[in-house]
Amino acid sequence: MSSECMQPLIRVESVSKYYRHRRILSSGHIVHALNGVSLSVAPRSTLALVGESGSGKSTLALCLACLERPSSGTIWFGGRDIAALDEKQMRAVRPQVQLIFQDPASSLNPRFTALEIVTEPLVLQRRWKGRQTRERGFALLERVGLSAEMASRRAGEFSGGQKQRLAIARALSLEPKILILDEALSALDCSAQARITNLLLELQSSFALTYLFITHDLAMAAHIADEIAVMNRGRIVEQGVPQKLLDSPEHEATRCLVTATPQSIMTSRISGA
Amino acid sequence: MRFILRRLAHAAFLMFGASILTFLFASLAPGDYFDEMRLNTQIAPETILALRAQYQLDRPLPERYLRWIDSVIHGDLGYSFSYNSPVKPLLLVRARNTFFLTLTATLLTWGLALPLGVRSAEYLGRLPDSLISWTMAALLVIPELALALGLLLFAARSRWFPTGEMVSVDFSSLSPVHKLQDLVLHMTLPLLALVLTALPLLVRHVRAAIADVLEAPFMLAARGHGIPRHRLLYRYALPAAANPLISLFGFSIGALLSGSLLVEVVMGWPGLGPLLVEAILSRDLYLVIGGVLLSTLFLVIGNLIADLLLYWADPRIHADLVAK
């Protein structure tokens, strides 16, 4: 359900990001991770960012989540340019843009218990008192489909799907406006993918969330997104509704992705919530 | 070639840094050699001041260091107050003895560790391995001091071996055969102390390295080709384990050097160790610095040789550097 007439929740304008590999006594070489990327995401919608590995998707995600600073360009969010904020201001913005990583095994500290993981952001932000934090933690766990008995188990003992639920619960604890899912389903098996996708769609409507869904799988993007942007070598090369991209792709990169997609997915596309 | 130059530069940097460090520590010391004299009321304070000036102990630290570096470059390592002689000849004689002992100990230790480690790895988990491992473990828990003192005690009570010195007093008058015998007798116990202390850890590491290699697919393939056991072990497995073993070699040199200090002092071998201890007890500044740096030099050179051996032995390092 995209609404083009509404103000975009987040707007990226000509963002670029360079990395320089430095070694002592030798000049480094420059890596262009992002090269003038522009896009916008409407509130309460899902934008899918699709591209091959190395196209810059994860770098963009990190920039949006204020975990990396773009070399140039602006990112408009909540009325200001979050690319130009200092560290302290960034800390205030970060809770609103949450990132879900691809590998739940490394994004959750395996020694922490489920409750500790879910309440860590709350503890860091010092929003409530101890007991209230615990209660909120239990509520979050339940919301993502994990029972209260699991609260004291260590994260390392959970399955992949359960871990991602935990990661989502953690992200939700700070009541973010936008969730960036960086290949969040890629490491899961098919049935877990389906279940988590359903959970995500359900959460989107209950919490009025906006999703930026990053993936290399066009089929998955088509299934869940209102709009798809294709990235290639640090640039957005094509953008539009899934049906249009699948039926008549314009750019070379999009065409590559389409031909890699199984025929059946294209003909029976189900639109989300 | 660039690799060699880089390692040489690295070694030079280490020596330079070590010299600064040692000089710094030495100069932070409250008091010096002449403090003892100050307590003696018969010696006038002016004399002490004059002596201090003569040995330039009253100059600021950086100046002393630069002067010292300058003299080192010209081959002069300073002056020993207690021996009343230049430091260099004192050090060189003792260094020769230490070098002799440590080199022989290194060769012996490796000469024993390699076959023992290989045998252990070959029969992993079975009787020969258990026997060797347990013996090594038993040796490992005996502290070096206890071992050296124990051997000394044995020498003193049994009178089979001399206790101390490198050669007997009448060495120069002995026939060549007897000279050799004399040297060997004097050397046996210190060697034993050094070897027995260094052996356990080394055998352990060799065993681990060879055991790792023996599990590799190429070894299984070689066995499948019917290559005889001896060739397998020494011409296939050992060279493949060269990388960790050569690094270990560099490390073992350092360990043996540190160990030799104690053994020399306890068993009376006239090497750098006892000289250093004496110099320390009498606060003989330049002798101490010279001794510490000389032993550091041994260590750095030993590691350098190990690095070069590694470079020569492991073709992967060649390839790595070429690719860069």
């Binding site: 989540a65 949450q98 952001p121 | 010391a29 409250p30 003192l149 009570r157």
Partner: protein, 341 residues
């Protein structure tokens, strides 16, 4: 689970050993500084259960030594004065664990003195001195290891976490310290500190010197762990929740380094006890009359002592069960931290 049990076993063994030394006052029959000028260099006494008439006594007894006429260190047993041991005797005062005043000893004697491990030149009971000496040596090892690990952790964590030029500088410095032969560095450092100081000062001095010399290897190991943890996503995520550096280090990084710290501790403590023994043996450590395993052995540097009084060697053996315990502990720790494939 088996690893846990192994670990527990070695911890218990070490605990008992350390406990005995910690309660040296209880296990030692005499004060370690107490001299007995009538019995210099007395050999170890035998305990008997049957007397000269062939009667069996439940309580062990001994024959006190009398110095032989005309000799300075030969003794005969005085068979006429069979003296029994008194268990749980109330004898000289001491402070248990340095705090609680106590008078209870495991065993003691009446007027005559029993020397189970012989005496030294001043007639001081060696058993008591070995027990009390253990306190000094073990404490030096434990404190020194603590200092090294504190230092090494701080430097390694800073280098690994902050990276950049700080990392380069610290790593070059660590290479330097590793390049110097350890024992030579130790001696060199000790040399340039005041030599004639009080026993307490000497003790503190050598603890600090031993602790400072060995920071390089633990620092590098810790740095390795920190580098790998730093890149983990959960650290990134926590930063995304607004976590400051201090929180990240304490809550996420430090627990990962705990296994390295423990294994290093088990390796370093015996090494450092040995370092103290070496320093004291060479006269650079804890001075007499305070006892430490090192300076007890220093007597052996005199040839006459070495040849004639073999029991003066026994303090060297006292270290062996501790070495064994720490060795077993470090093996068990390594098994526990990195399970076999």
């Amino acid at each position: 689970m088996n690893e846990r049990r192994q670990l527990a076993k070695w911890l218990i063994v070490l605990g008992v050993l350390h406990g005995v030394i910690a309660c040296a006052g209880f296990f030692a029959p005499y004060d370690p500084l107490e001299q007995d000028r009538e019995h210099p260099y007395a050999p170890p006494m035998k305990l008997h259960l049957t007397d000269t008439q062939g009667h069996f006594h439940l309580r062990p007894f001994f024959y006190p030594f009398r110095m032989r006429e005309g000799s300075l260190d030969q003794y005969d047993e005085d068979m006429s004065r069979a003296t029994p041991l008194i268990f749980f005797a109330d004898r000289s005062a001491y402070r248990l664990l340095g705090l609680v005043p106590c008078r209870l000893h495991l065993f003691g004697t009446g007027g005559e003195r029993v020397f189970l491990v012989g005496t030294d030149g001043f007639g001081r009971d060696q058993l008591s001195r070995i027990l009390y000496g253990g306190q000094v040596s073990l404490l030096a090892g434990l404190l020194g290891a603590g200092i090294t690990l504190l230092f090494g952790w701080g430097i390694g964590a800073a280098a690994g976490y902050y990276g950049g030029w700080r990392d380069e500088v610290l790593m070059r410095l660590s290479e330097l310290f590793l390049a110097l032969p350890w024992l030579y560095l130790l001696l060199g450092l000790r040399a340039f500190l005041p030599l004639a100081v009080s026993p307490l000062e000497a003790f503190l001095l050598i603890v600090i010197v031993i602790g400072l010399v060995g920071w390089a290897r633990p620092a590098r190991l810790i740095r390795g762990v920190v580098l790998s943890v730093k890149e983990r996503d959960f650290v990134r995520a926590a930063r995304g929740f607004g976590a400051p550096d201090g929180y990240l280090l304490l809550r996420h990084v430090l627990p990962e380094t705990s296994s390295v710290l423990l294994t290093q501790a088990a390796i370093l403590v015996p090494q450092y006890v040995l370092a103290e023994m070496t320093l004291s043996f060479l006269g650079l450590g804890v001075p007499q009359p305070l006892a430490s395993w090192g300076n007890l052995l220093a007597n052996l540097q005199q040839y006459s002592v070495l040849v004639s009084y073999w029991w003066m060697y026994l303090p060297a053996v006292a270290m062996v069960p501790f070495f064994l315990g720490y060795f077993g502990l470090s093996s068990a720790l390594q098994e526990w931290a990195t399970p076999h494939k």
